[in-house]
């Protein structure tokens, strides 16, 4: 098994560039196939965006990357997804450990109905990242600073996070996700519930996060994909139609379907 992993690492990974490589991923909900033969290489220190019309499978694929689909009974995943050369669907892999490494931010801001501090501290606590209270305080402060919300909440760390505005809540969720210091940050339409100002703040934040994290973002808005990402993948009807540099996808796509979508003729 070790050799296998080693070989996979050699053959599939271009050192220093690929973080996640997916090969022939198929996802079924009962009998319905949601994803067809998706293969993609997601790079380090870059923002990759998944675009496509509703129901095209982009969120499904994102949820495959941290095995959140495991929570859906009827969902079945085949194919191979390698995270730094390790097959994350290997039966020996504990999804709990995987999810500590691959953080996730959801479509709707979903802070725990607890204090701001407890929201951020929860991840580090369950993963034993902090031994002392002061360590934990430091992690909380650092995460909130990186999520560009520290100044807004530093005086109300003990007040409930659910009392903040939508944009603040979403940044709290981002801070919560990065508090466990994951390698990869998955974002499932993180701005769809936010107003334009909050969206701008979150987008700015995503750009900053690129330095330390590999960010994968699913978005409905092509403008957003163009603004924040370096790589873009276009999904249509469960297949990955085109994947490449954002600039190229938006200016000179190879596939006619991509062109139709970005010019607004489909989707």
């Amino acid at each position: 098994m070790k050799d296998q992993t080693y070989l996979d690492r050699e053959s599939n990974l271009t050192p220093g560039i690929s973080k996640i490589s997916a090969k022939n991923v198929n996802v079924y909900y009962d009998d319905v196939q949601a994803l067809k033969d998706v293969s993609v290489e997601i790079g380090k220190n870059a923002v990759t965006s998944f675009i496509g019309p509703s129901g095209c499978g982009k969120s499904t694929f994102l949820r495959c990357l941290n095995r959140m689909n495991d929570t859906i009974d009827i969902c079945k995943v085949t194919g191979q997804i390698l995270l730094e050369g390790e097959d994350i669907y290997d039966p020996k892999i504990d999804p709990v450990q995987l999810r500590a490494k691959v953080g996730m931010v959801f479509q709707k801001p979903n802070p725990f109905p607890k204090s701001v501090y407890d929201n951020i501290a929860y991840g580090p606590k369950i993963h034993g990242l902090a031994n002392t209270k002061s360590d934990l305080d430091e992690i909380v402060e650092k995460s909130l600073q990186r999520a560009a919300i520290w100044d807004e909440v530093k005086d109300r760390l003990s007040s409930p996070a659910t009392g903040l505005s939508g944009g603040q809540q979403q940044r709290i969720c981002i801070a919560r996700a990065i508090a466990t210091s994951p390698d990869i940050l998955l974002m499932d339409e993180p701005c769809s519930a936010l107003d334009p100002i909050a969206t701008a703040q979150v987008e700015e934040l995503i750009d900053e996060l690129r330095e330390n994290f590999c960010v994968v973002i699913v978005t409905h808005s092509m403008q957003q994909a163009a603004r924040v990402s370096q790589k873009t993948a276009f999904f249509h009807l469960g297949s990955l139609v085109e994947f490449g540099d954002t600039e190229k996808i938006f200016t000179n796509p190879n596939d006619p379907r991509t062109e139709s979508y970005i010019t607004g003729r489909i989707g």
């Binding site: 009974d73 725990f112 659910t162 996700a177």
Partner: protein
């Protein structure tokens, strides 16, 4: 058709709108009517219960100075406890009669009543009251002690207005002469009506002594029942619901379980009673009439209620909270115990309390396993005795009283209902308060 052609002004109300508004007004009136009828019923119910039941909390007492004569109670005069114990309550009757005569002489009241009728004014529990007092300390023999005795239920009924001289004309239990005497004794203050703590704290009494019956022991029985139900059904019910709701995969097996639980919740309680009789008593040979068996039976009855309400409150926790925790790398169990359960707690608590309140008011299954009114005469002193010695429960006690012939017991049944209702209202209020309190946290 004509209307639209006539005018377009908004001030002209069309027939259709008029009909719609009239329909809405009618519906409002129906609603108010329905609520008024409901409130009226509640008012009738509450006032009937209070009117009929409050008299049970008062009882007529007679105060007598009793000479504890050595010549009657300790003929040998050596204060030997064993010898004194040989004197039965029957032997105490003459002392009581003497005391009665003494009080009549003192107040110069004359009566034509014979010995038996004169003694009959006092409750049949009086001799044993004196006997218990003497046996507590035999050196009390020879003293003169003031006692407060209960008055016989019929006489008490006369004072409370239940009987009149005419209504007892042919009765062998009470007579007009007795009532005459009581009126005189009332005047001089020997007989008085007082709040009866023994009704709330005492035990049931035999058919001949309704005045001495109390609901206290049955209340303790109910307490132990609830203890068993809480200890068994809360952890079992919550664990089962968490497993079914959060961990178990959806398949035919869990579907069958779900339907079965829903069906169990609708099973009449008497079925659980007969099941308890067959399984816990006849097969497992647990002691009958005991709160432990009653608690087991009521647990069976309460479990479905708790499971259903717990599952509903687990379901109402937004899935986004579970996603958030799982996405952070929390295990399934951490997710449930750190996030889902605290949010579901108010619902679980409410469901549990309502289930318990249901169990508290249940009498049918208890009758089947022998938890009937008269089985316990003493308060249990230890927890194990409370669980394992025969006892009754409040609703079963009330039923037992309601079916007895003497109207004095019916009065006590109404009084018992007041106490039971107070408990139920307290529990339901607690459920509401707990719910508010927990939900207000964020």
């Amino acid at each position: 058709m004509t209307e639209t052609s006539h005018t377009n002004s908004l001030f002209n109300v069309s027939d259709k709108t008029k009909n719609r508004n009239a329909a809405e007004r009618r519906f409002r009136i129906y609603g108010i009517l329905a609520i008024s009828i409901g409130l009226l019923m509640l008012l009738v119910l509450a006032s009937t219960i209070i009117l009929r039941g409050t008299s049970a909390f008062q009882q007529t007492f007679i105060t007598l100075d009793v000479d504890l004569l050595e010549s009657k109670l300790d003929k040998k005069g050596n204060r030997n406890v064993d010898d004194i114990k040989k004197v039965s309550t029957f032997g105490y009757s003459p002392i009581l009669l003497n005391a009665m005569k003494k009080v009549l002489e003192k107040h110069e009241i004359r009566t034509s009543l014979k010995k038996k009728a004169l003694g009959g004014i006092i409750s049949k529990s009086a001799p044993s009251q004196i006997r218990d007092f003497v046996l507590e300390d035999v050196n009390r023999i020879g003293q003169t002690v003031e006692f407060k005795f209960l008055v016989n239920g019929w006489i008490d009924g006369y004072i409370k207005g239940r009987y009149s001289r005419e209504s007892v004309a042919n009765s062998k239990f009470a007579s007009a002469e007795q009532f005459d005497l009581i009126d005189q004794l009332l005047e001089v203050g020997v007989v008085e009506k007082k709040f009866n703590f023994d009704f709330i704290f005492g035990a049931d009494a035999s058919d001949q002594r309704p005045e001495a019956a109390g609901i206290g022991v049955a209340m303790v029985g109910s307490f132990y029942l609830m203890l068993v139900v809480l200890v068994l059904s809360l952890p079992l019910g919550v664990a089962a619901s968490i497993y079914l709701e959060e961990f178990a995969k959806q398949n035919i097996f869990t579907d069958v379980i779900e339907v079965t639980i829903s069906n169990l919740a609708a099973v009449p309680s008497i079925v659980f009673g007969i099941l308890g009789l067959a399984v816990f008593i006849n097969y497992m040979h647990l002691p009958q009439s005991t709160p432990i068996v009653g608690g087991l039976v009521l647990t069976l009855m309460t479990l479905p209620t708790i499971i259903i309400s717990t599952r509903a409150s687990l379901k109402s926790v937004p899935p986004s909270i579970r996603d958030a925790a799982l996405g952070l790398g929390a295990s399934k169990m951490q997710t449930v115990f750190h996030h889902v359960l605290p949010l579901a707690a108010p619902g679980i608590l409410t469901g549990t309390i309502i289930g318990m309140a249901q169990a508290l008011g249940e009498s049918a299954p208890l009758l089947l396993i022998g938890m009937i009114g008269y089985v316990a005469t003493n308060m249990p002193t230890t927890i194990s005795e409370g669980l394992l010695s025969p006892n009754s429960a409040m609703p079963a006690q009330i039923y037992e009283w309601a079916k007895r012939a003497d109207p004095a017991f019916i009065e006590r049944a109404w009084g018992g209902i007041i106490i039971l209702l107070i408990f139920l209202l307290t529990m339901n209020t607690m459920a509401v308060i707990l719910r508010r309190r927990f939900e207000r946290r964020w």
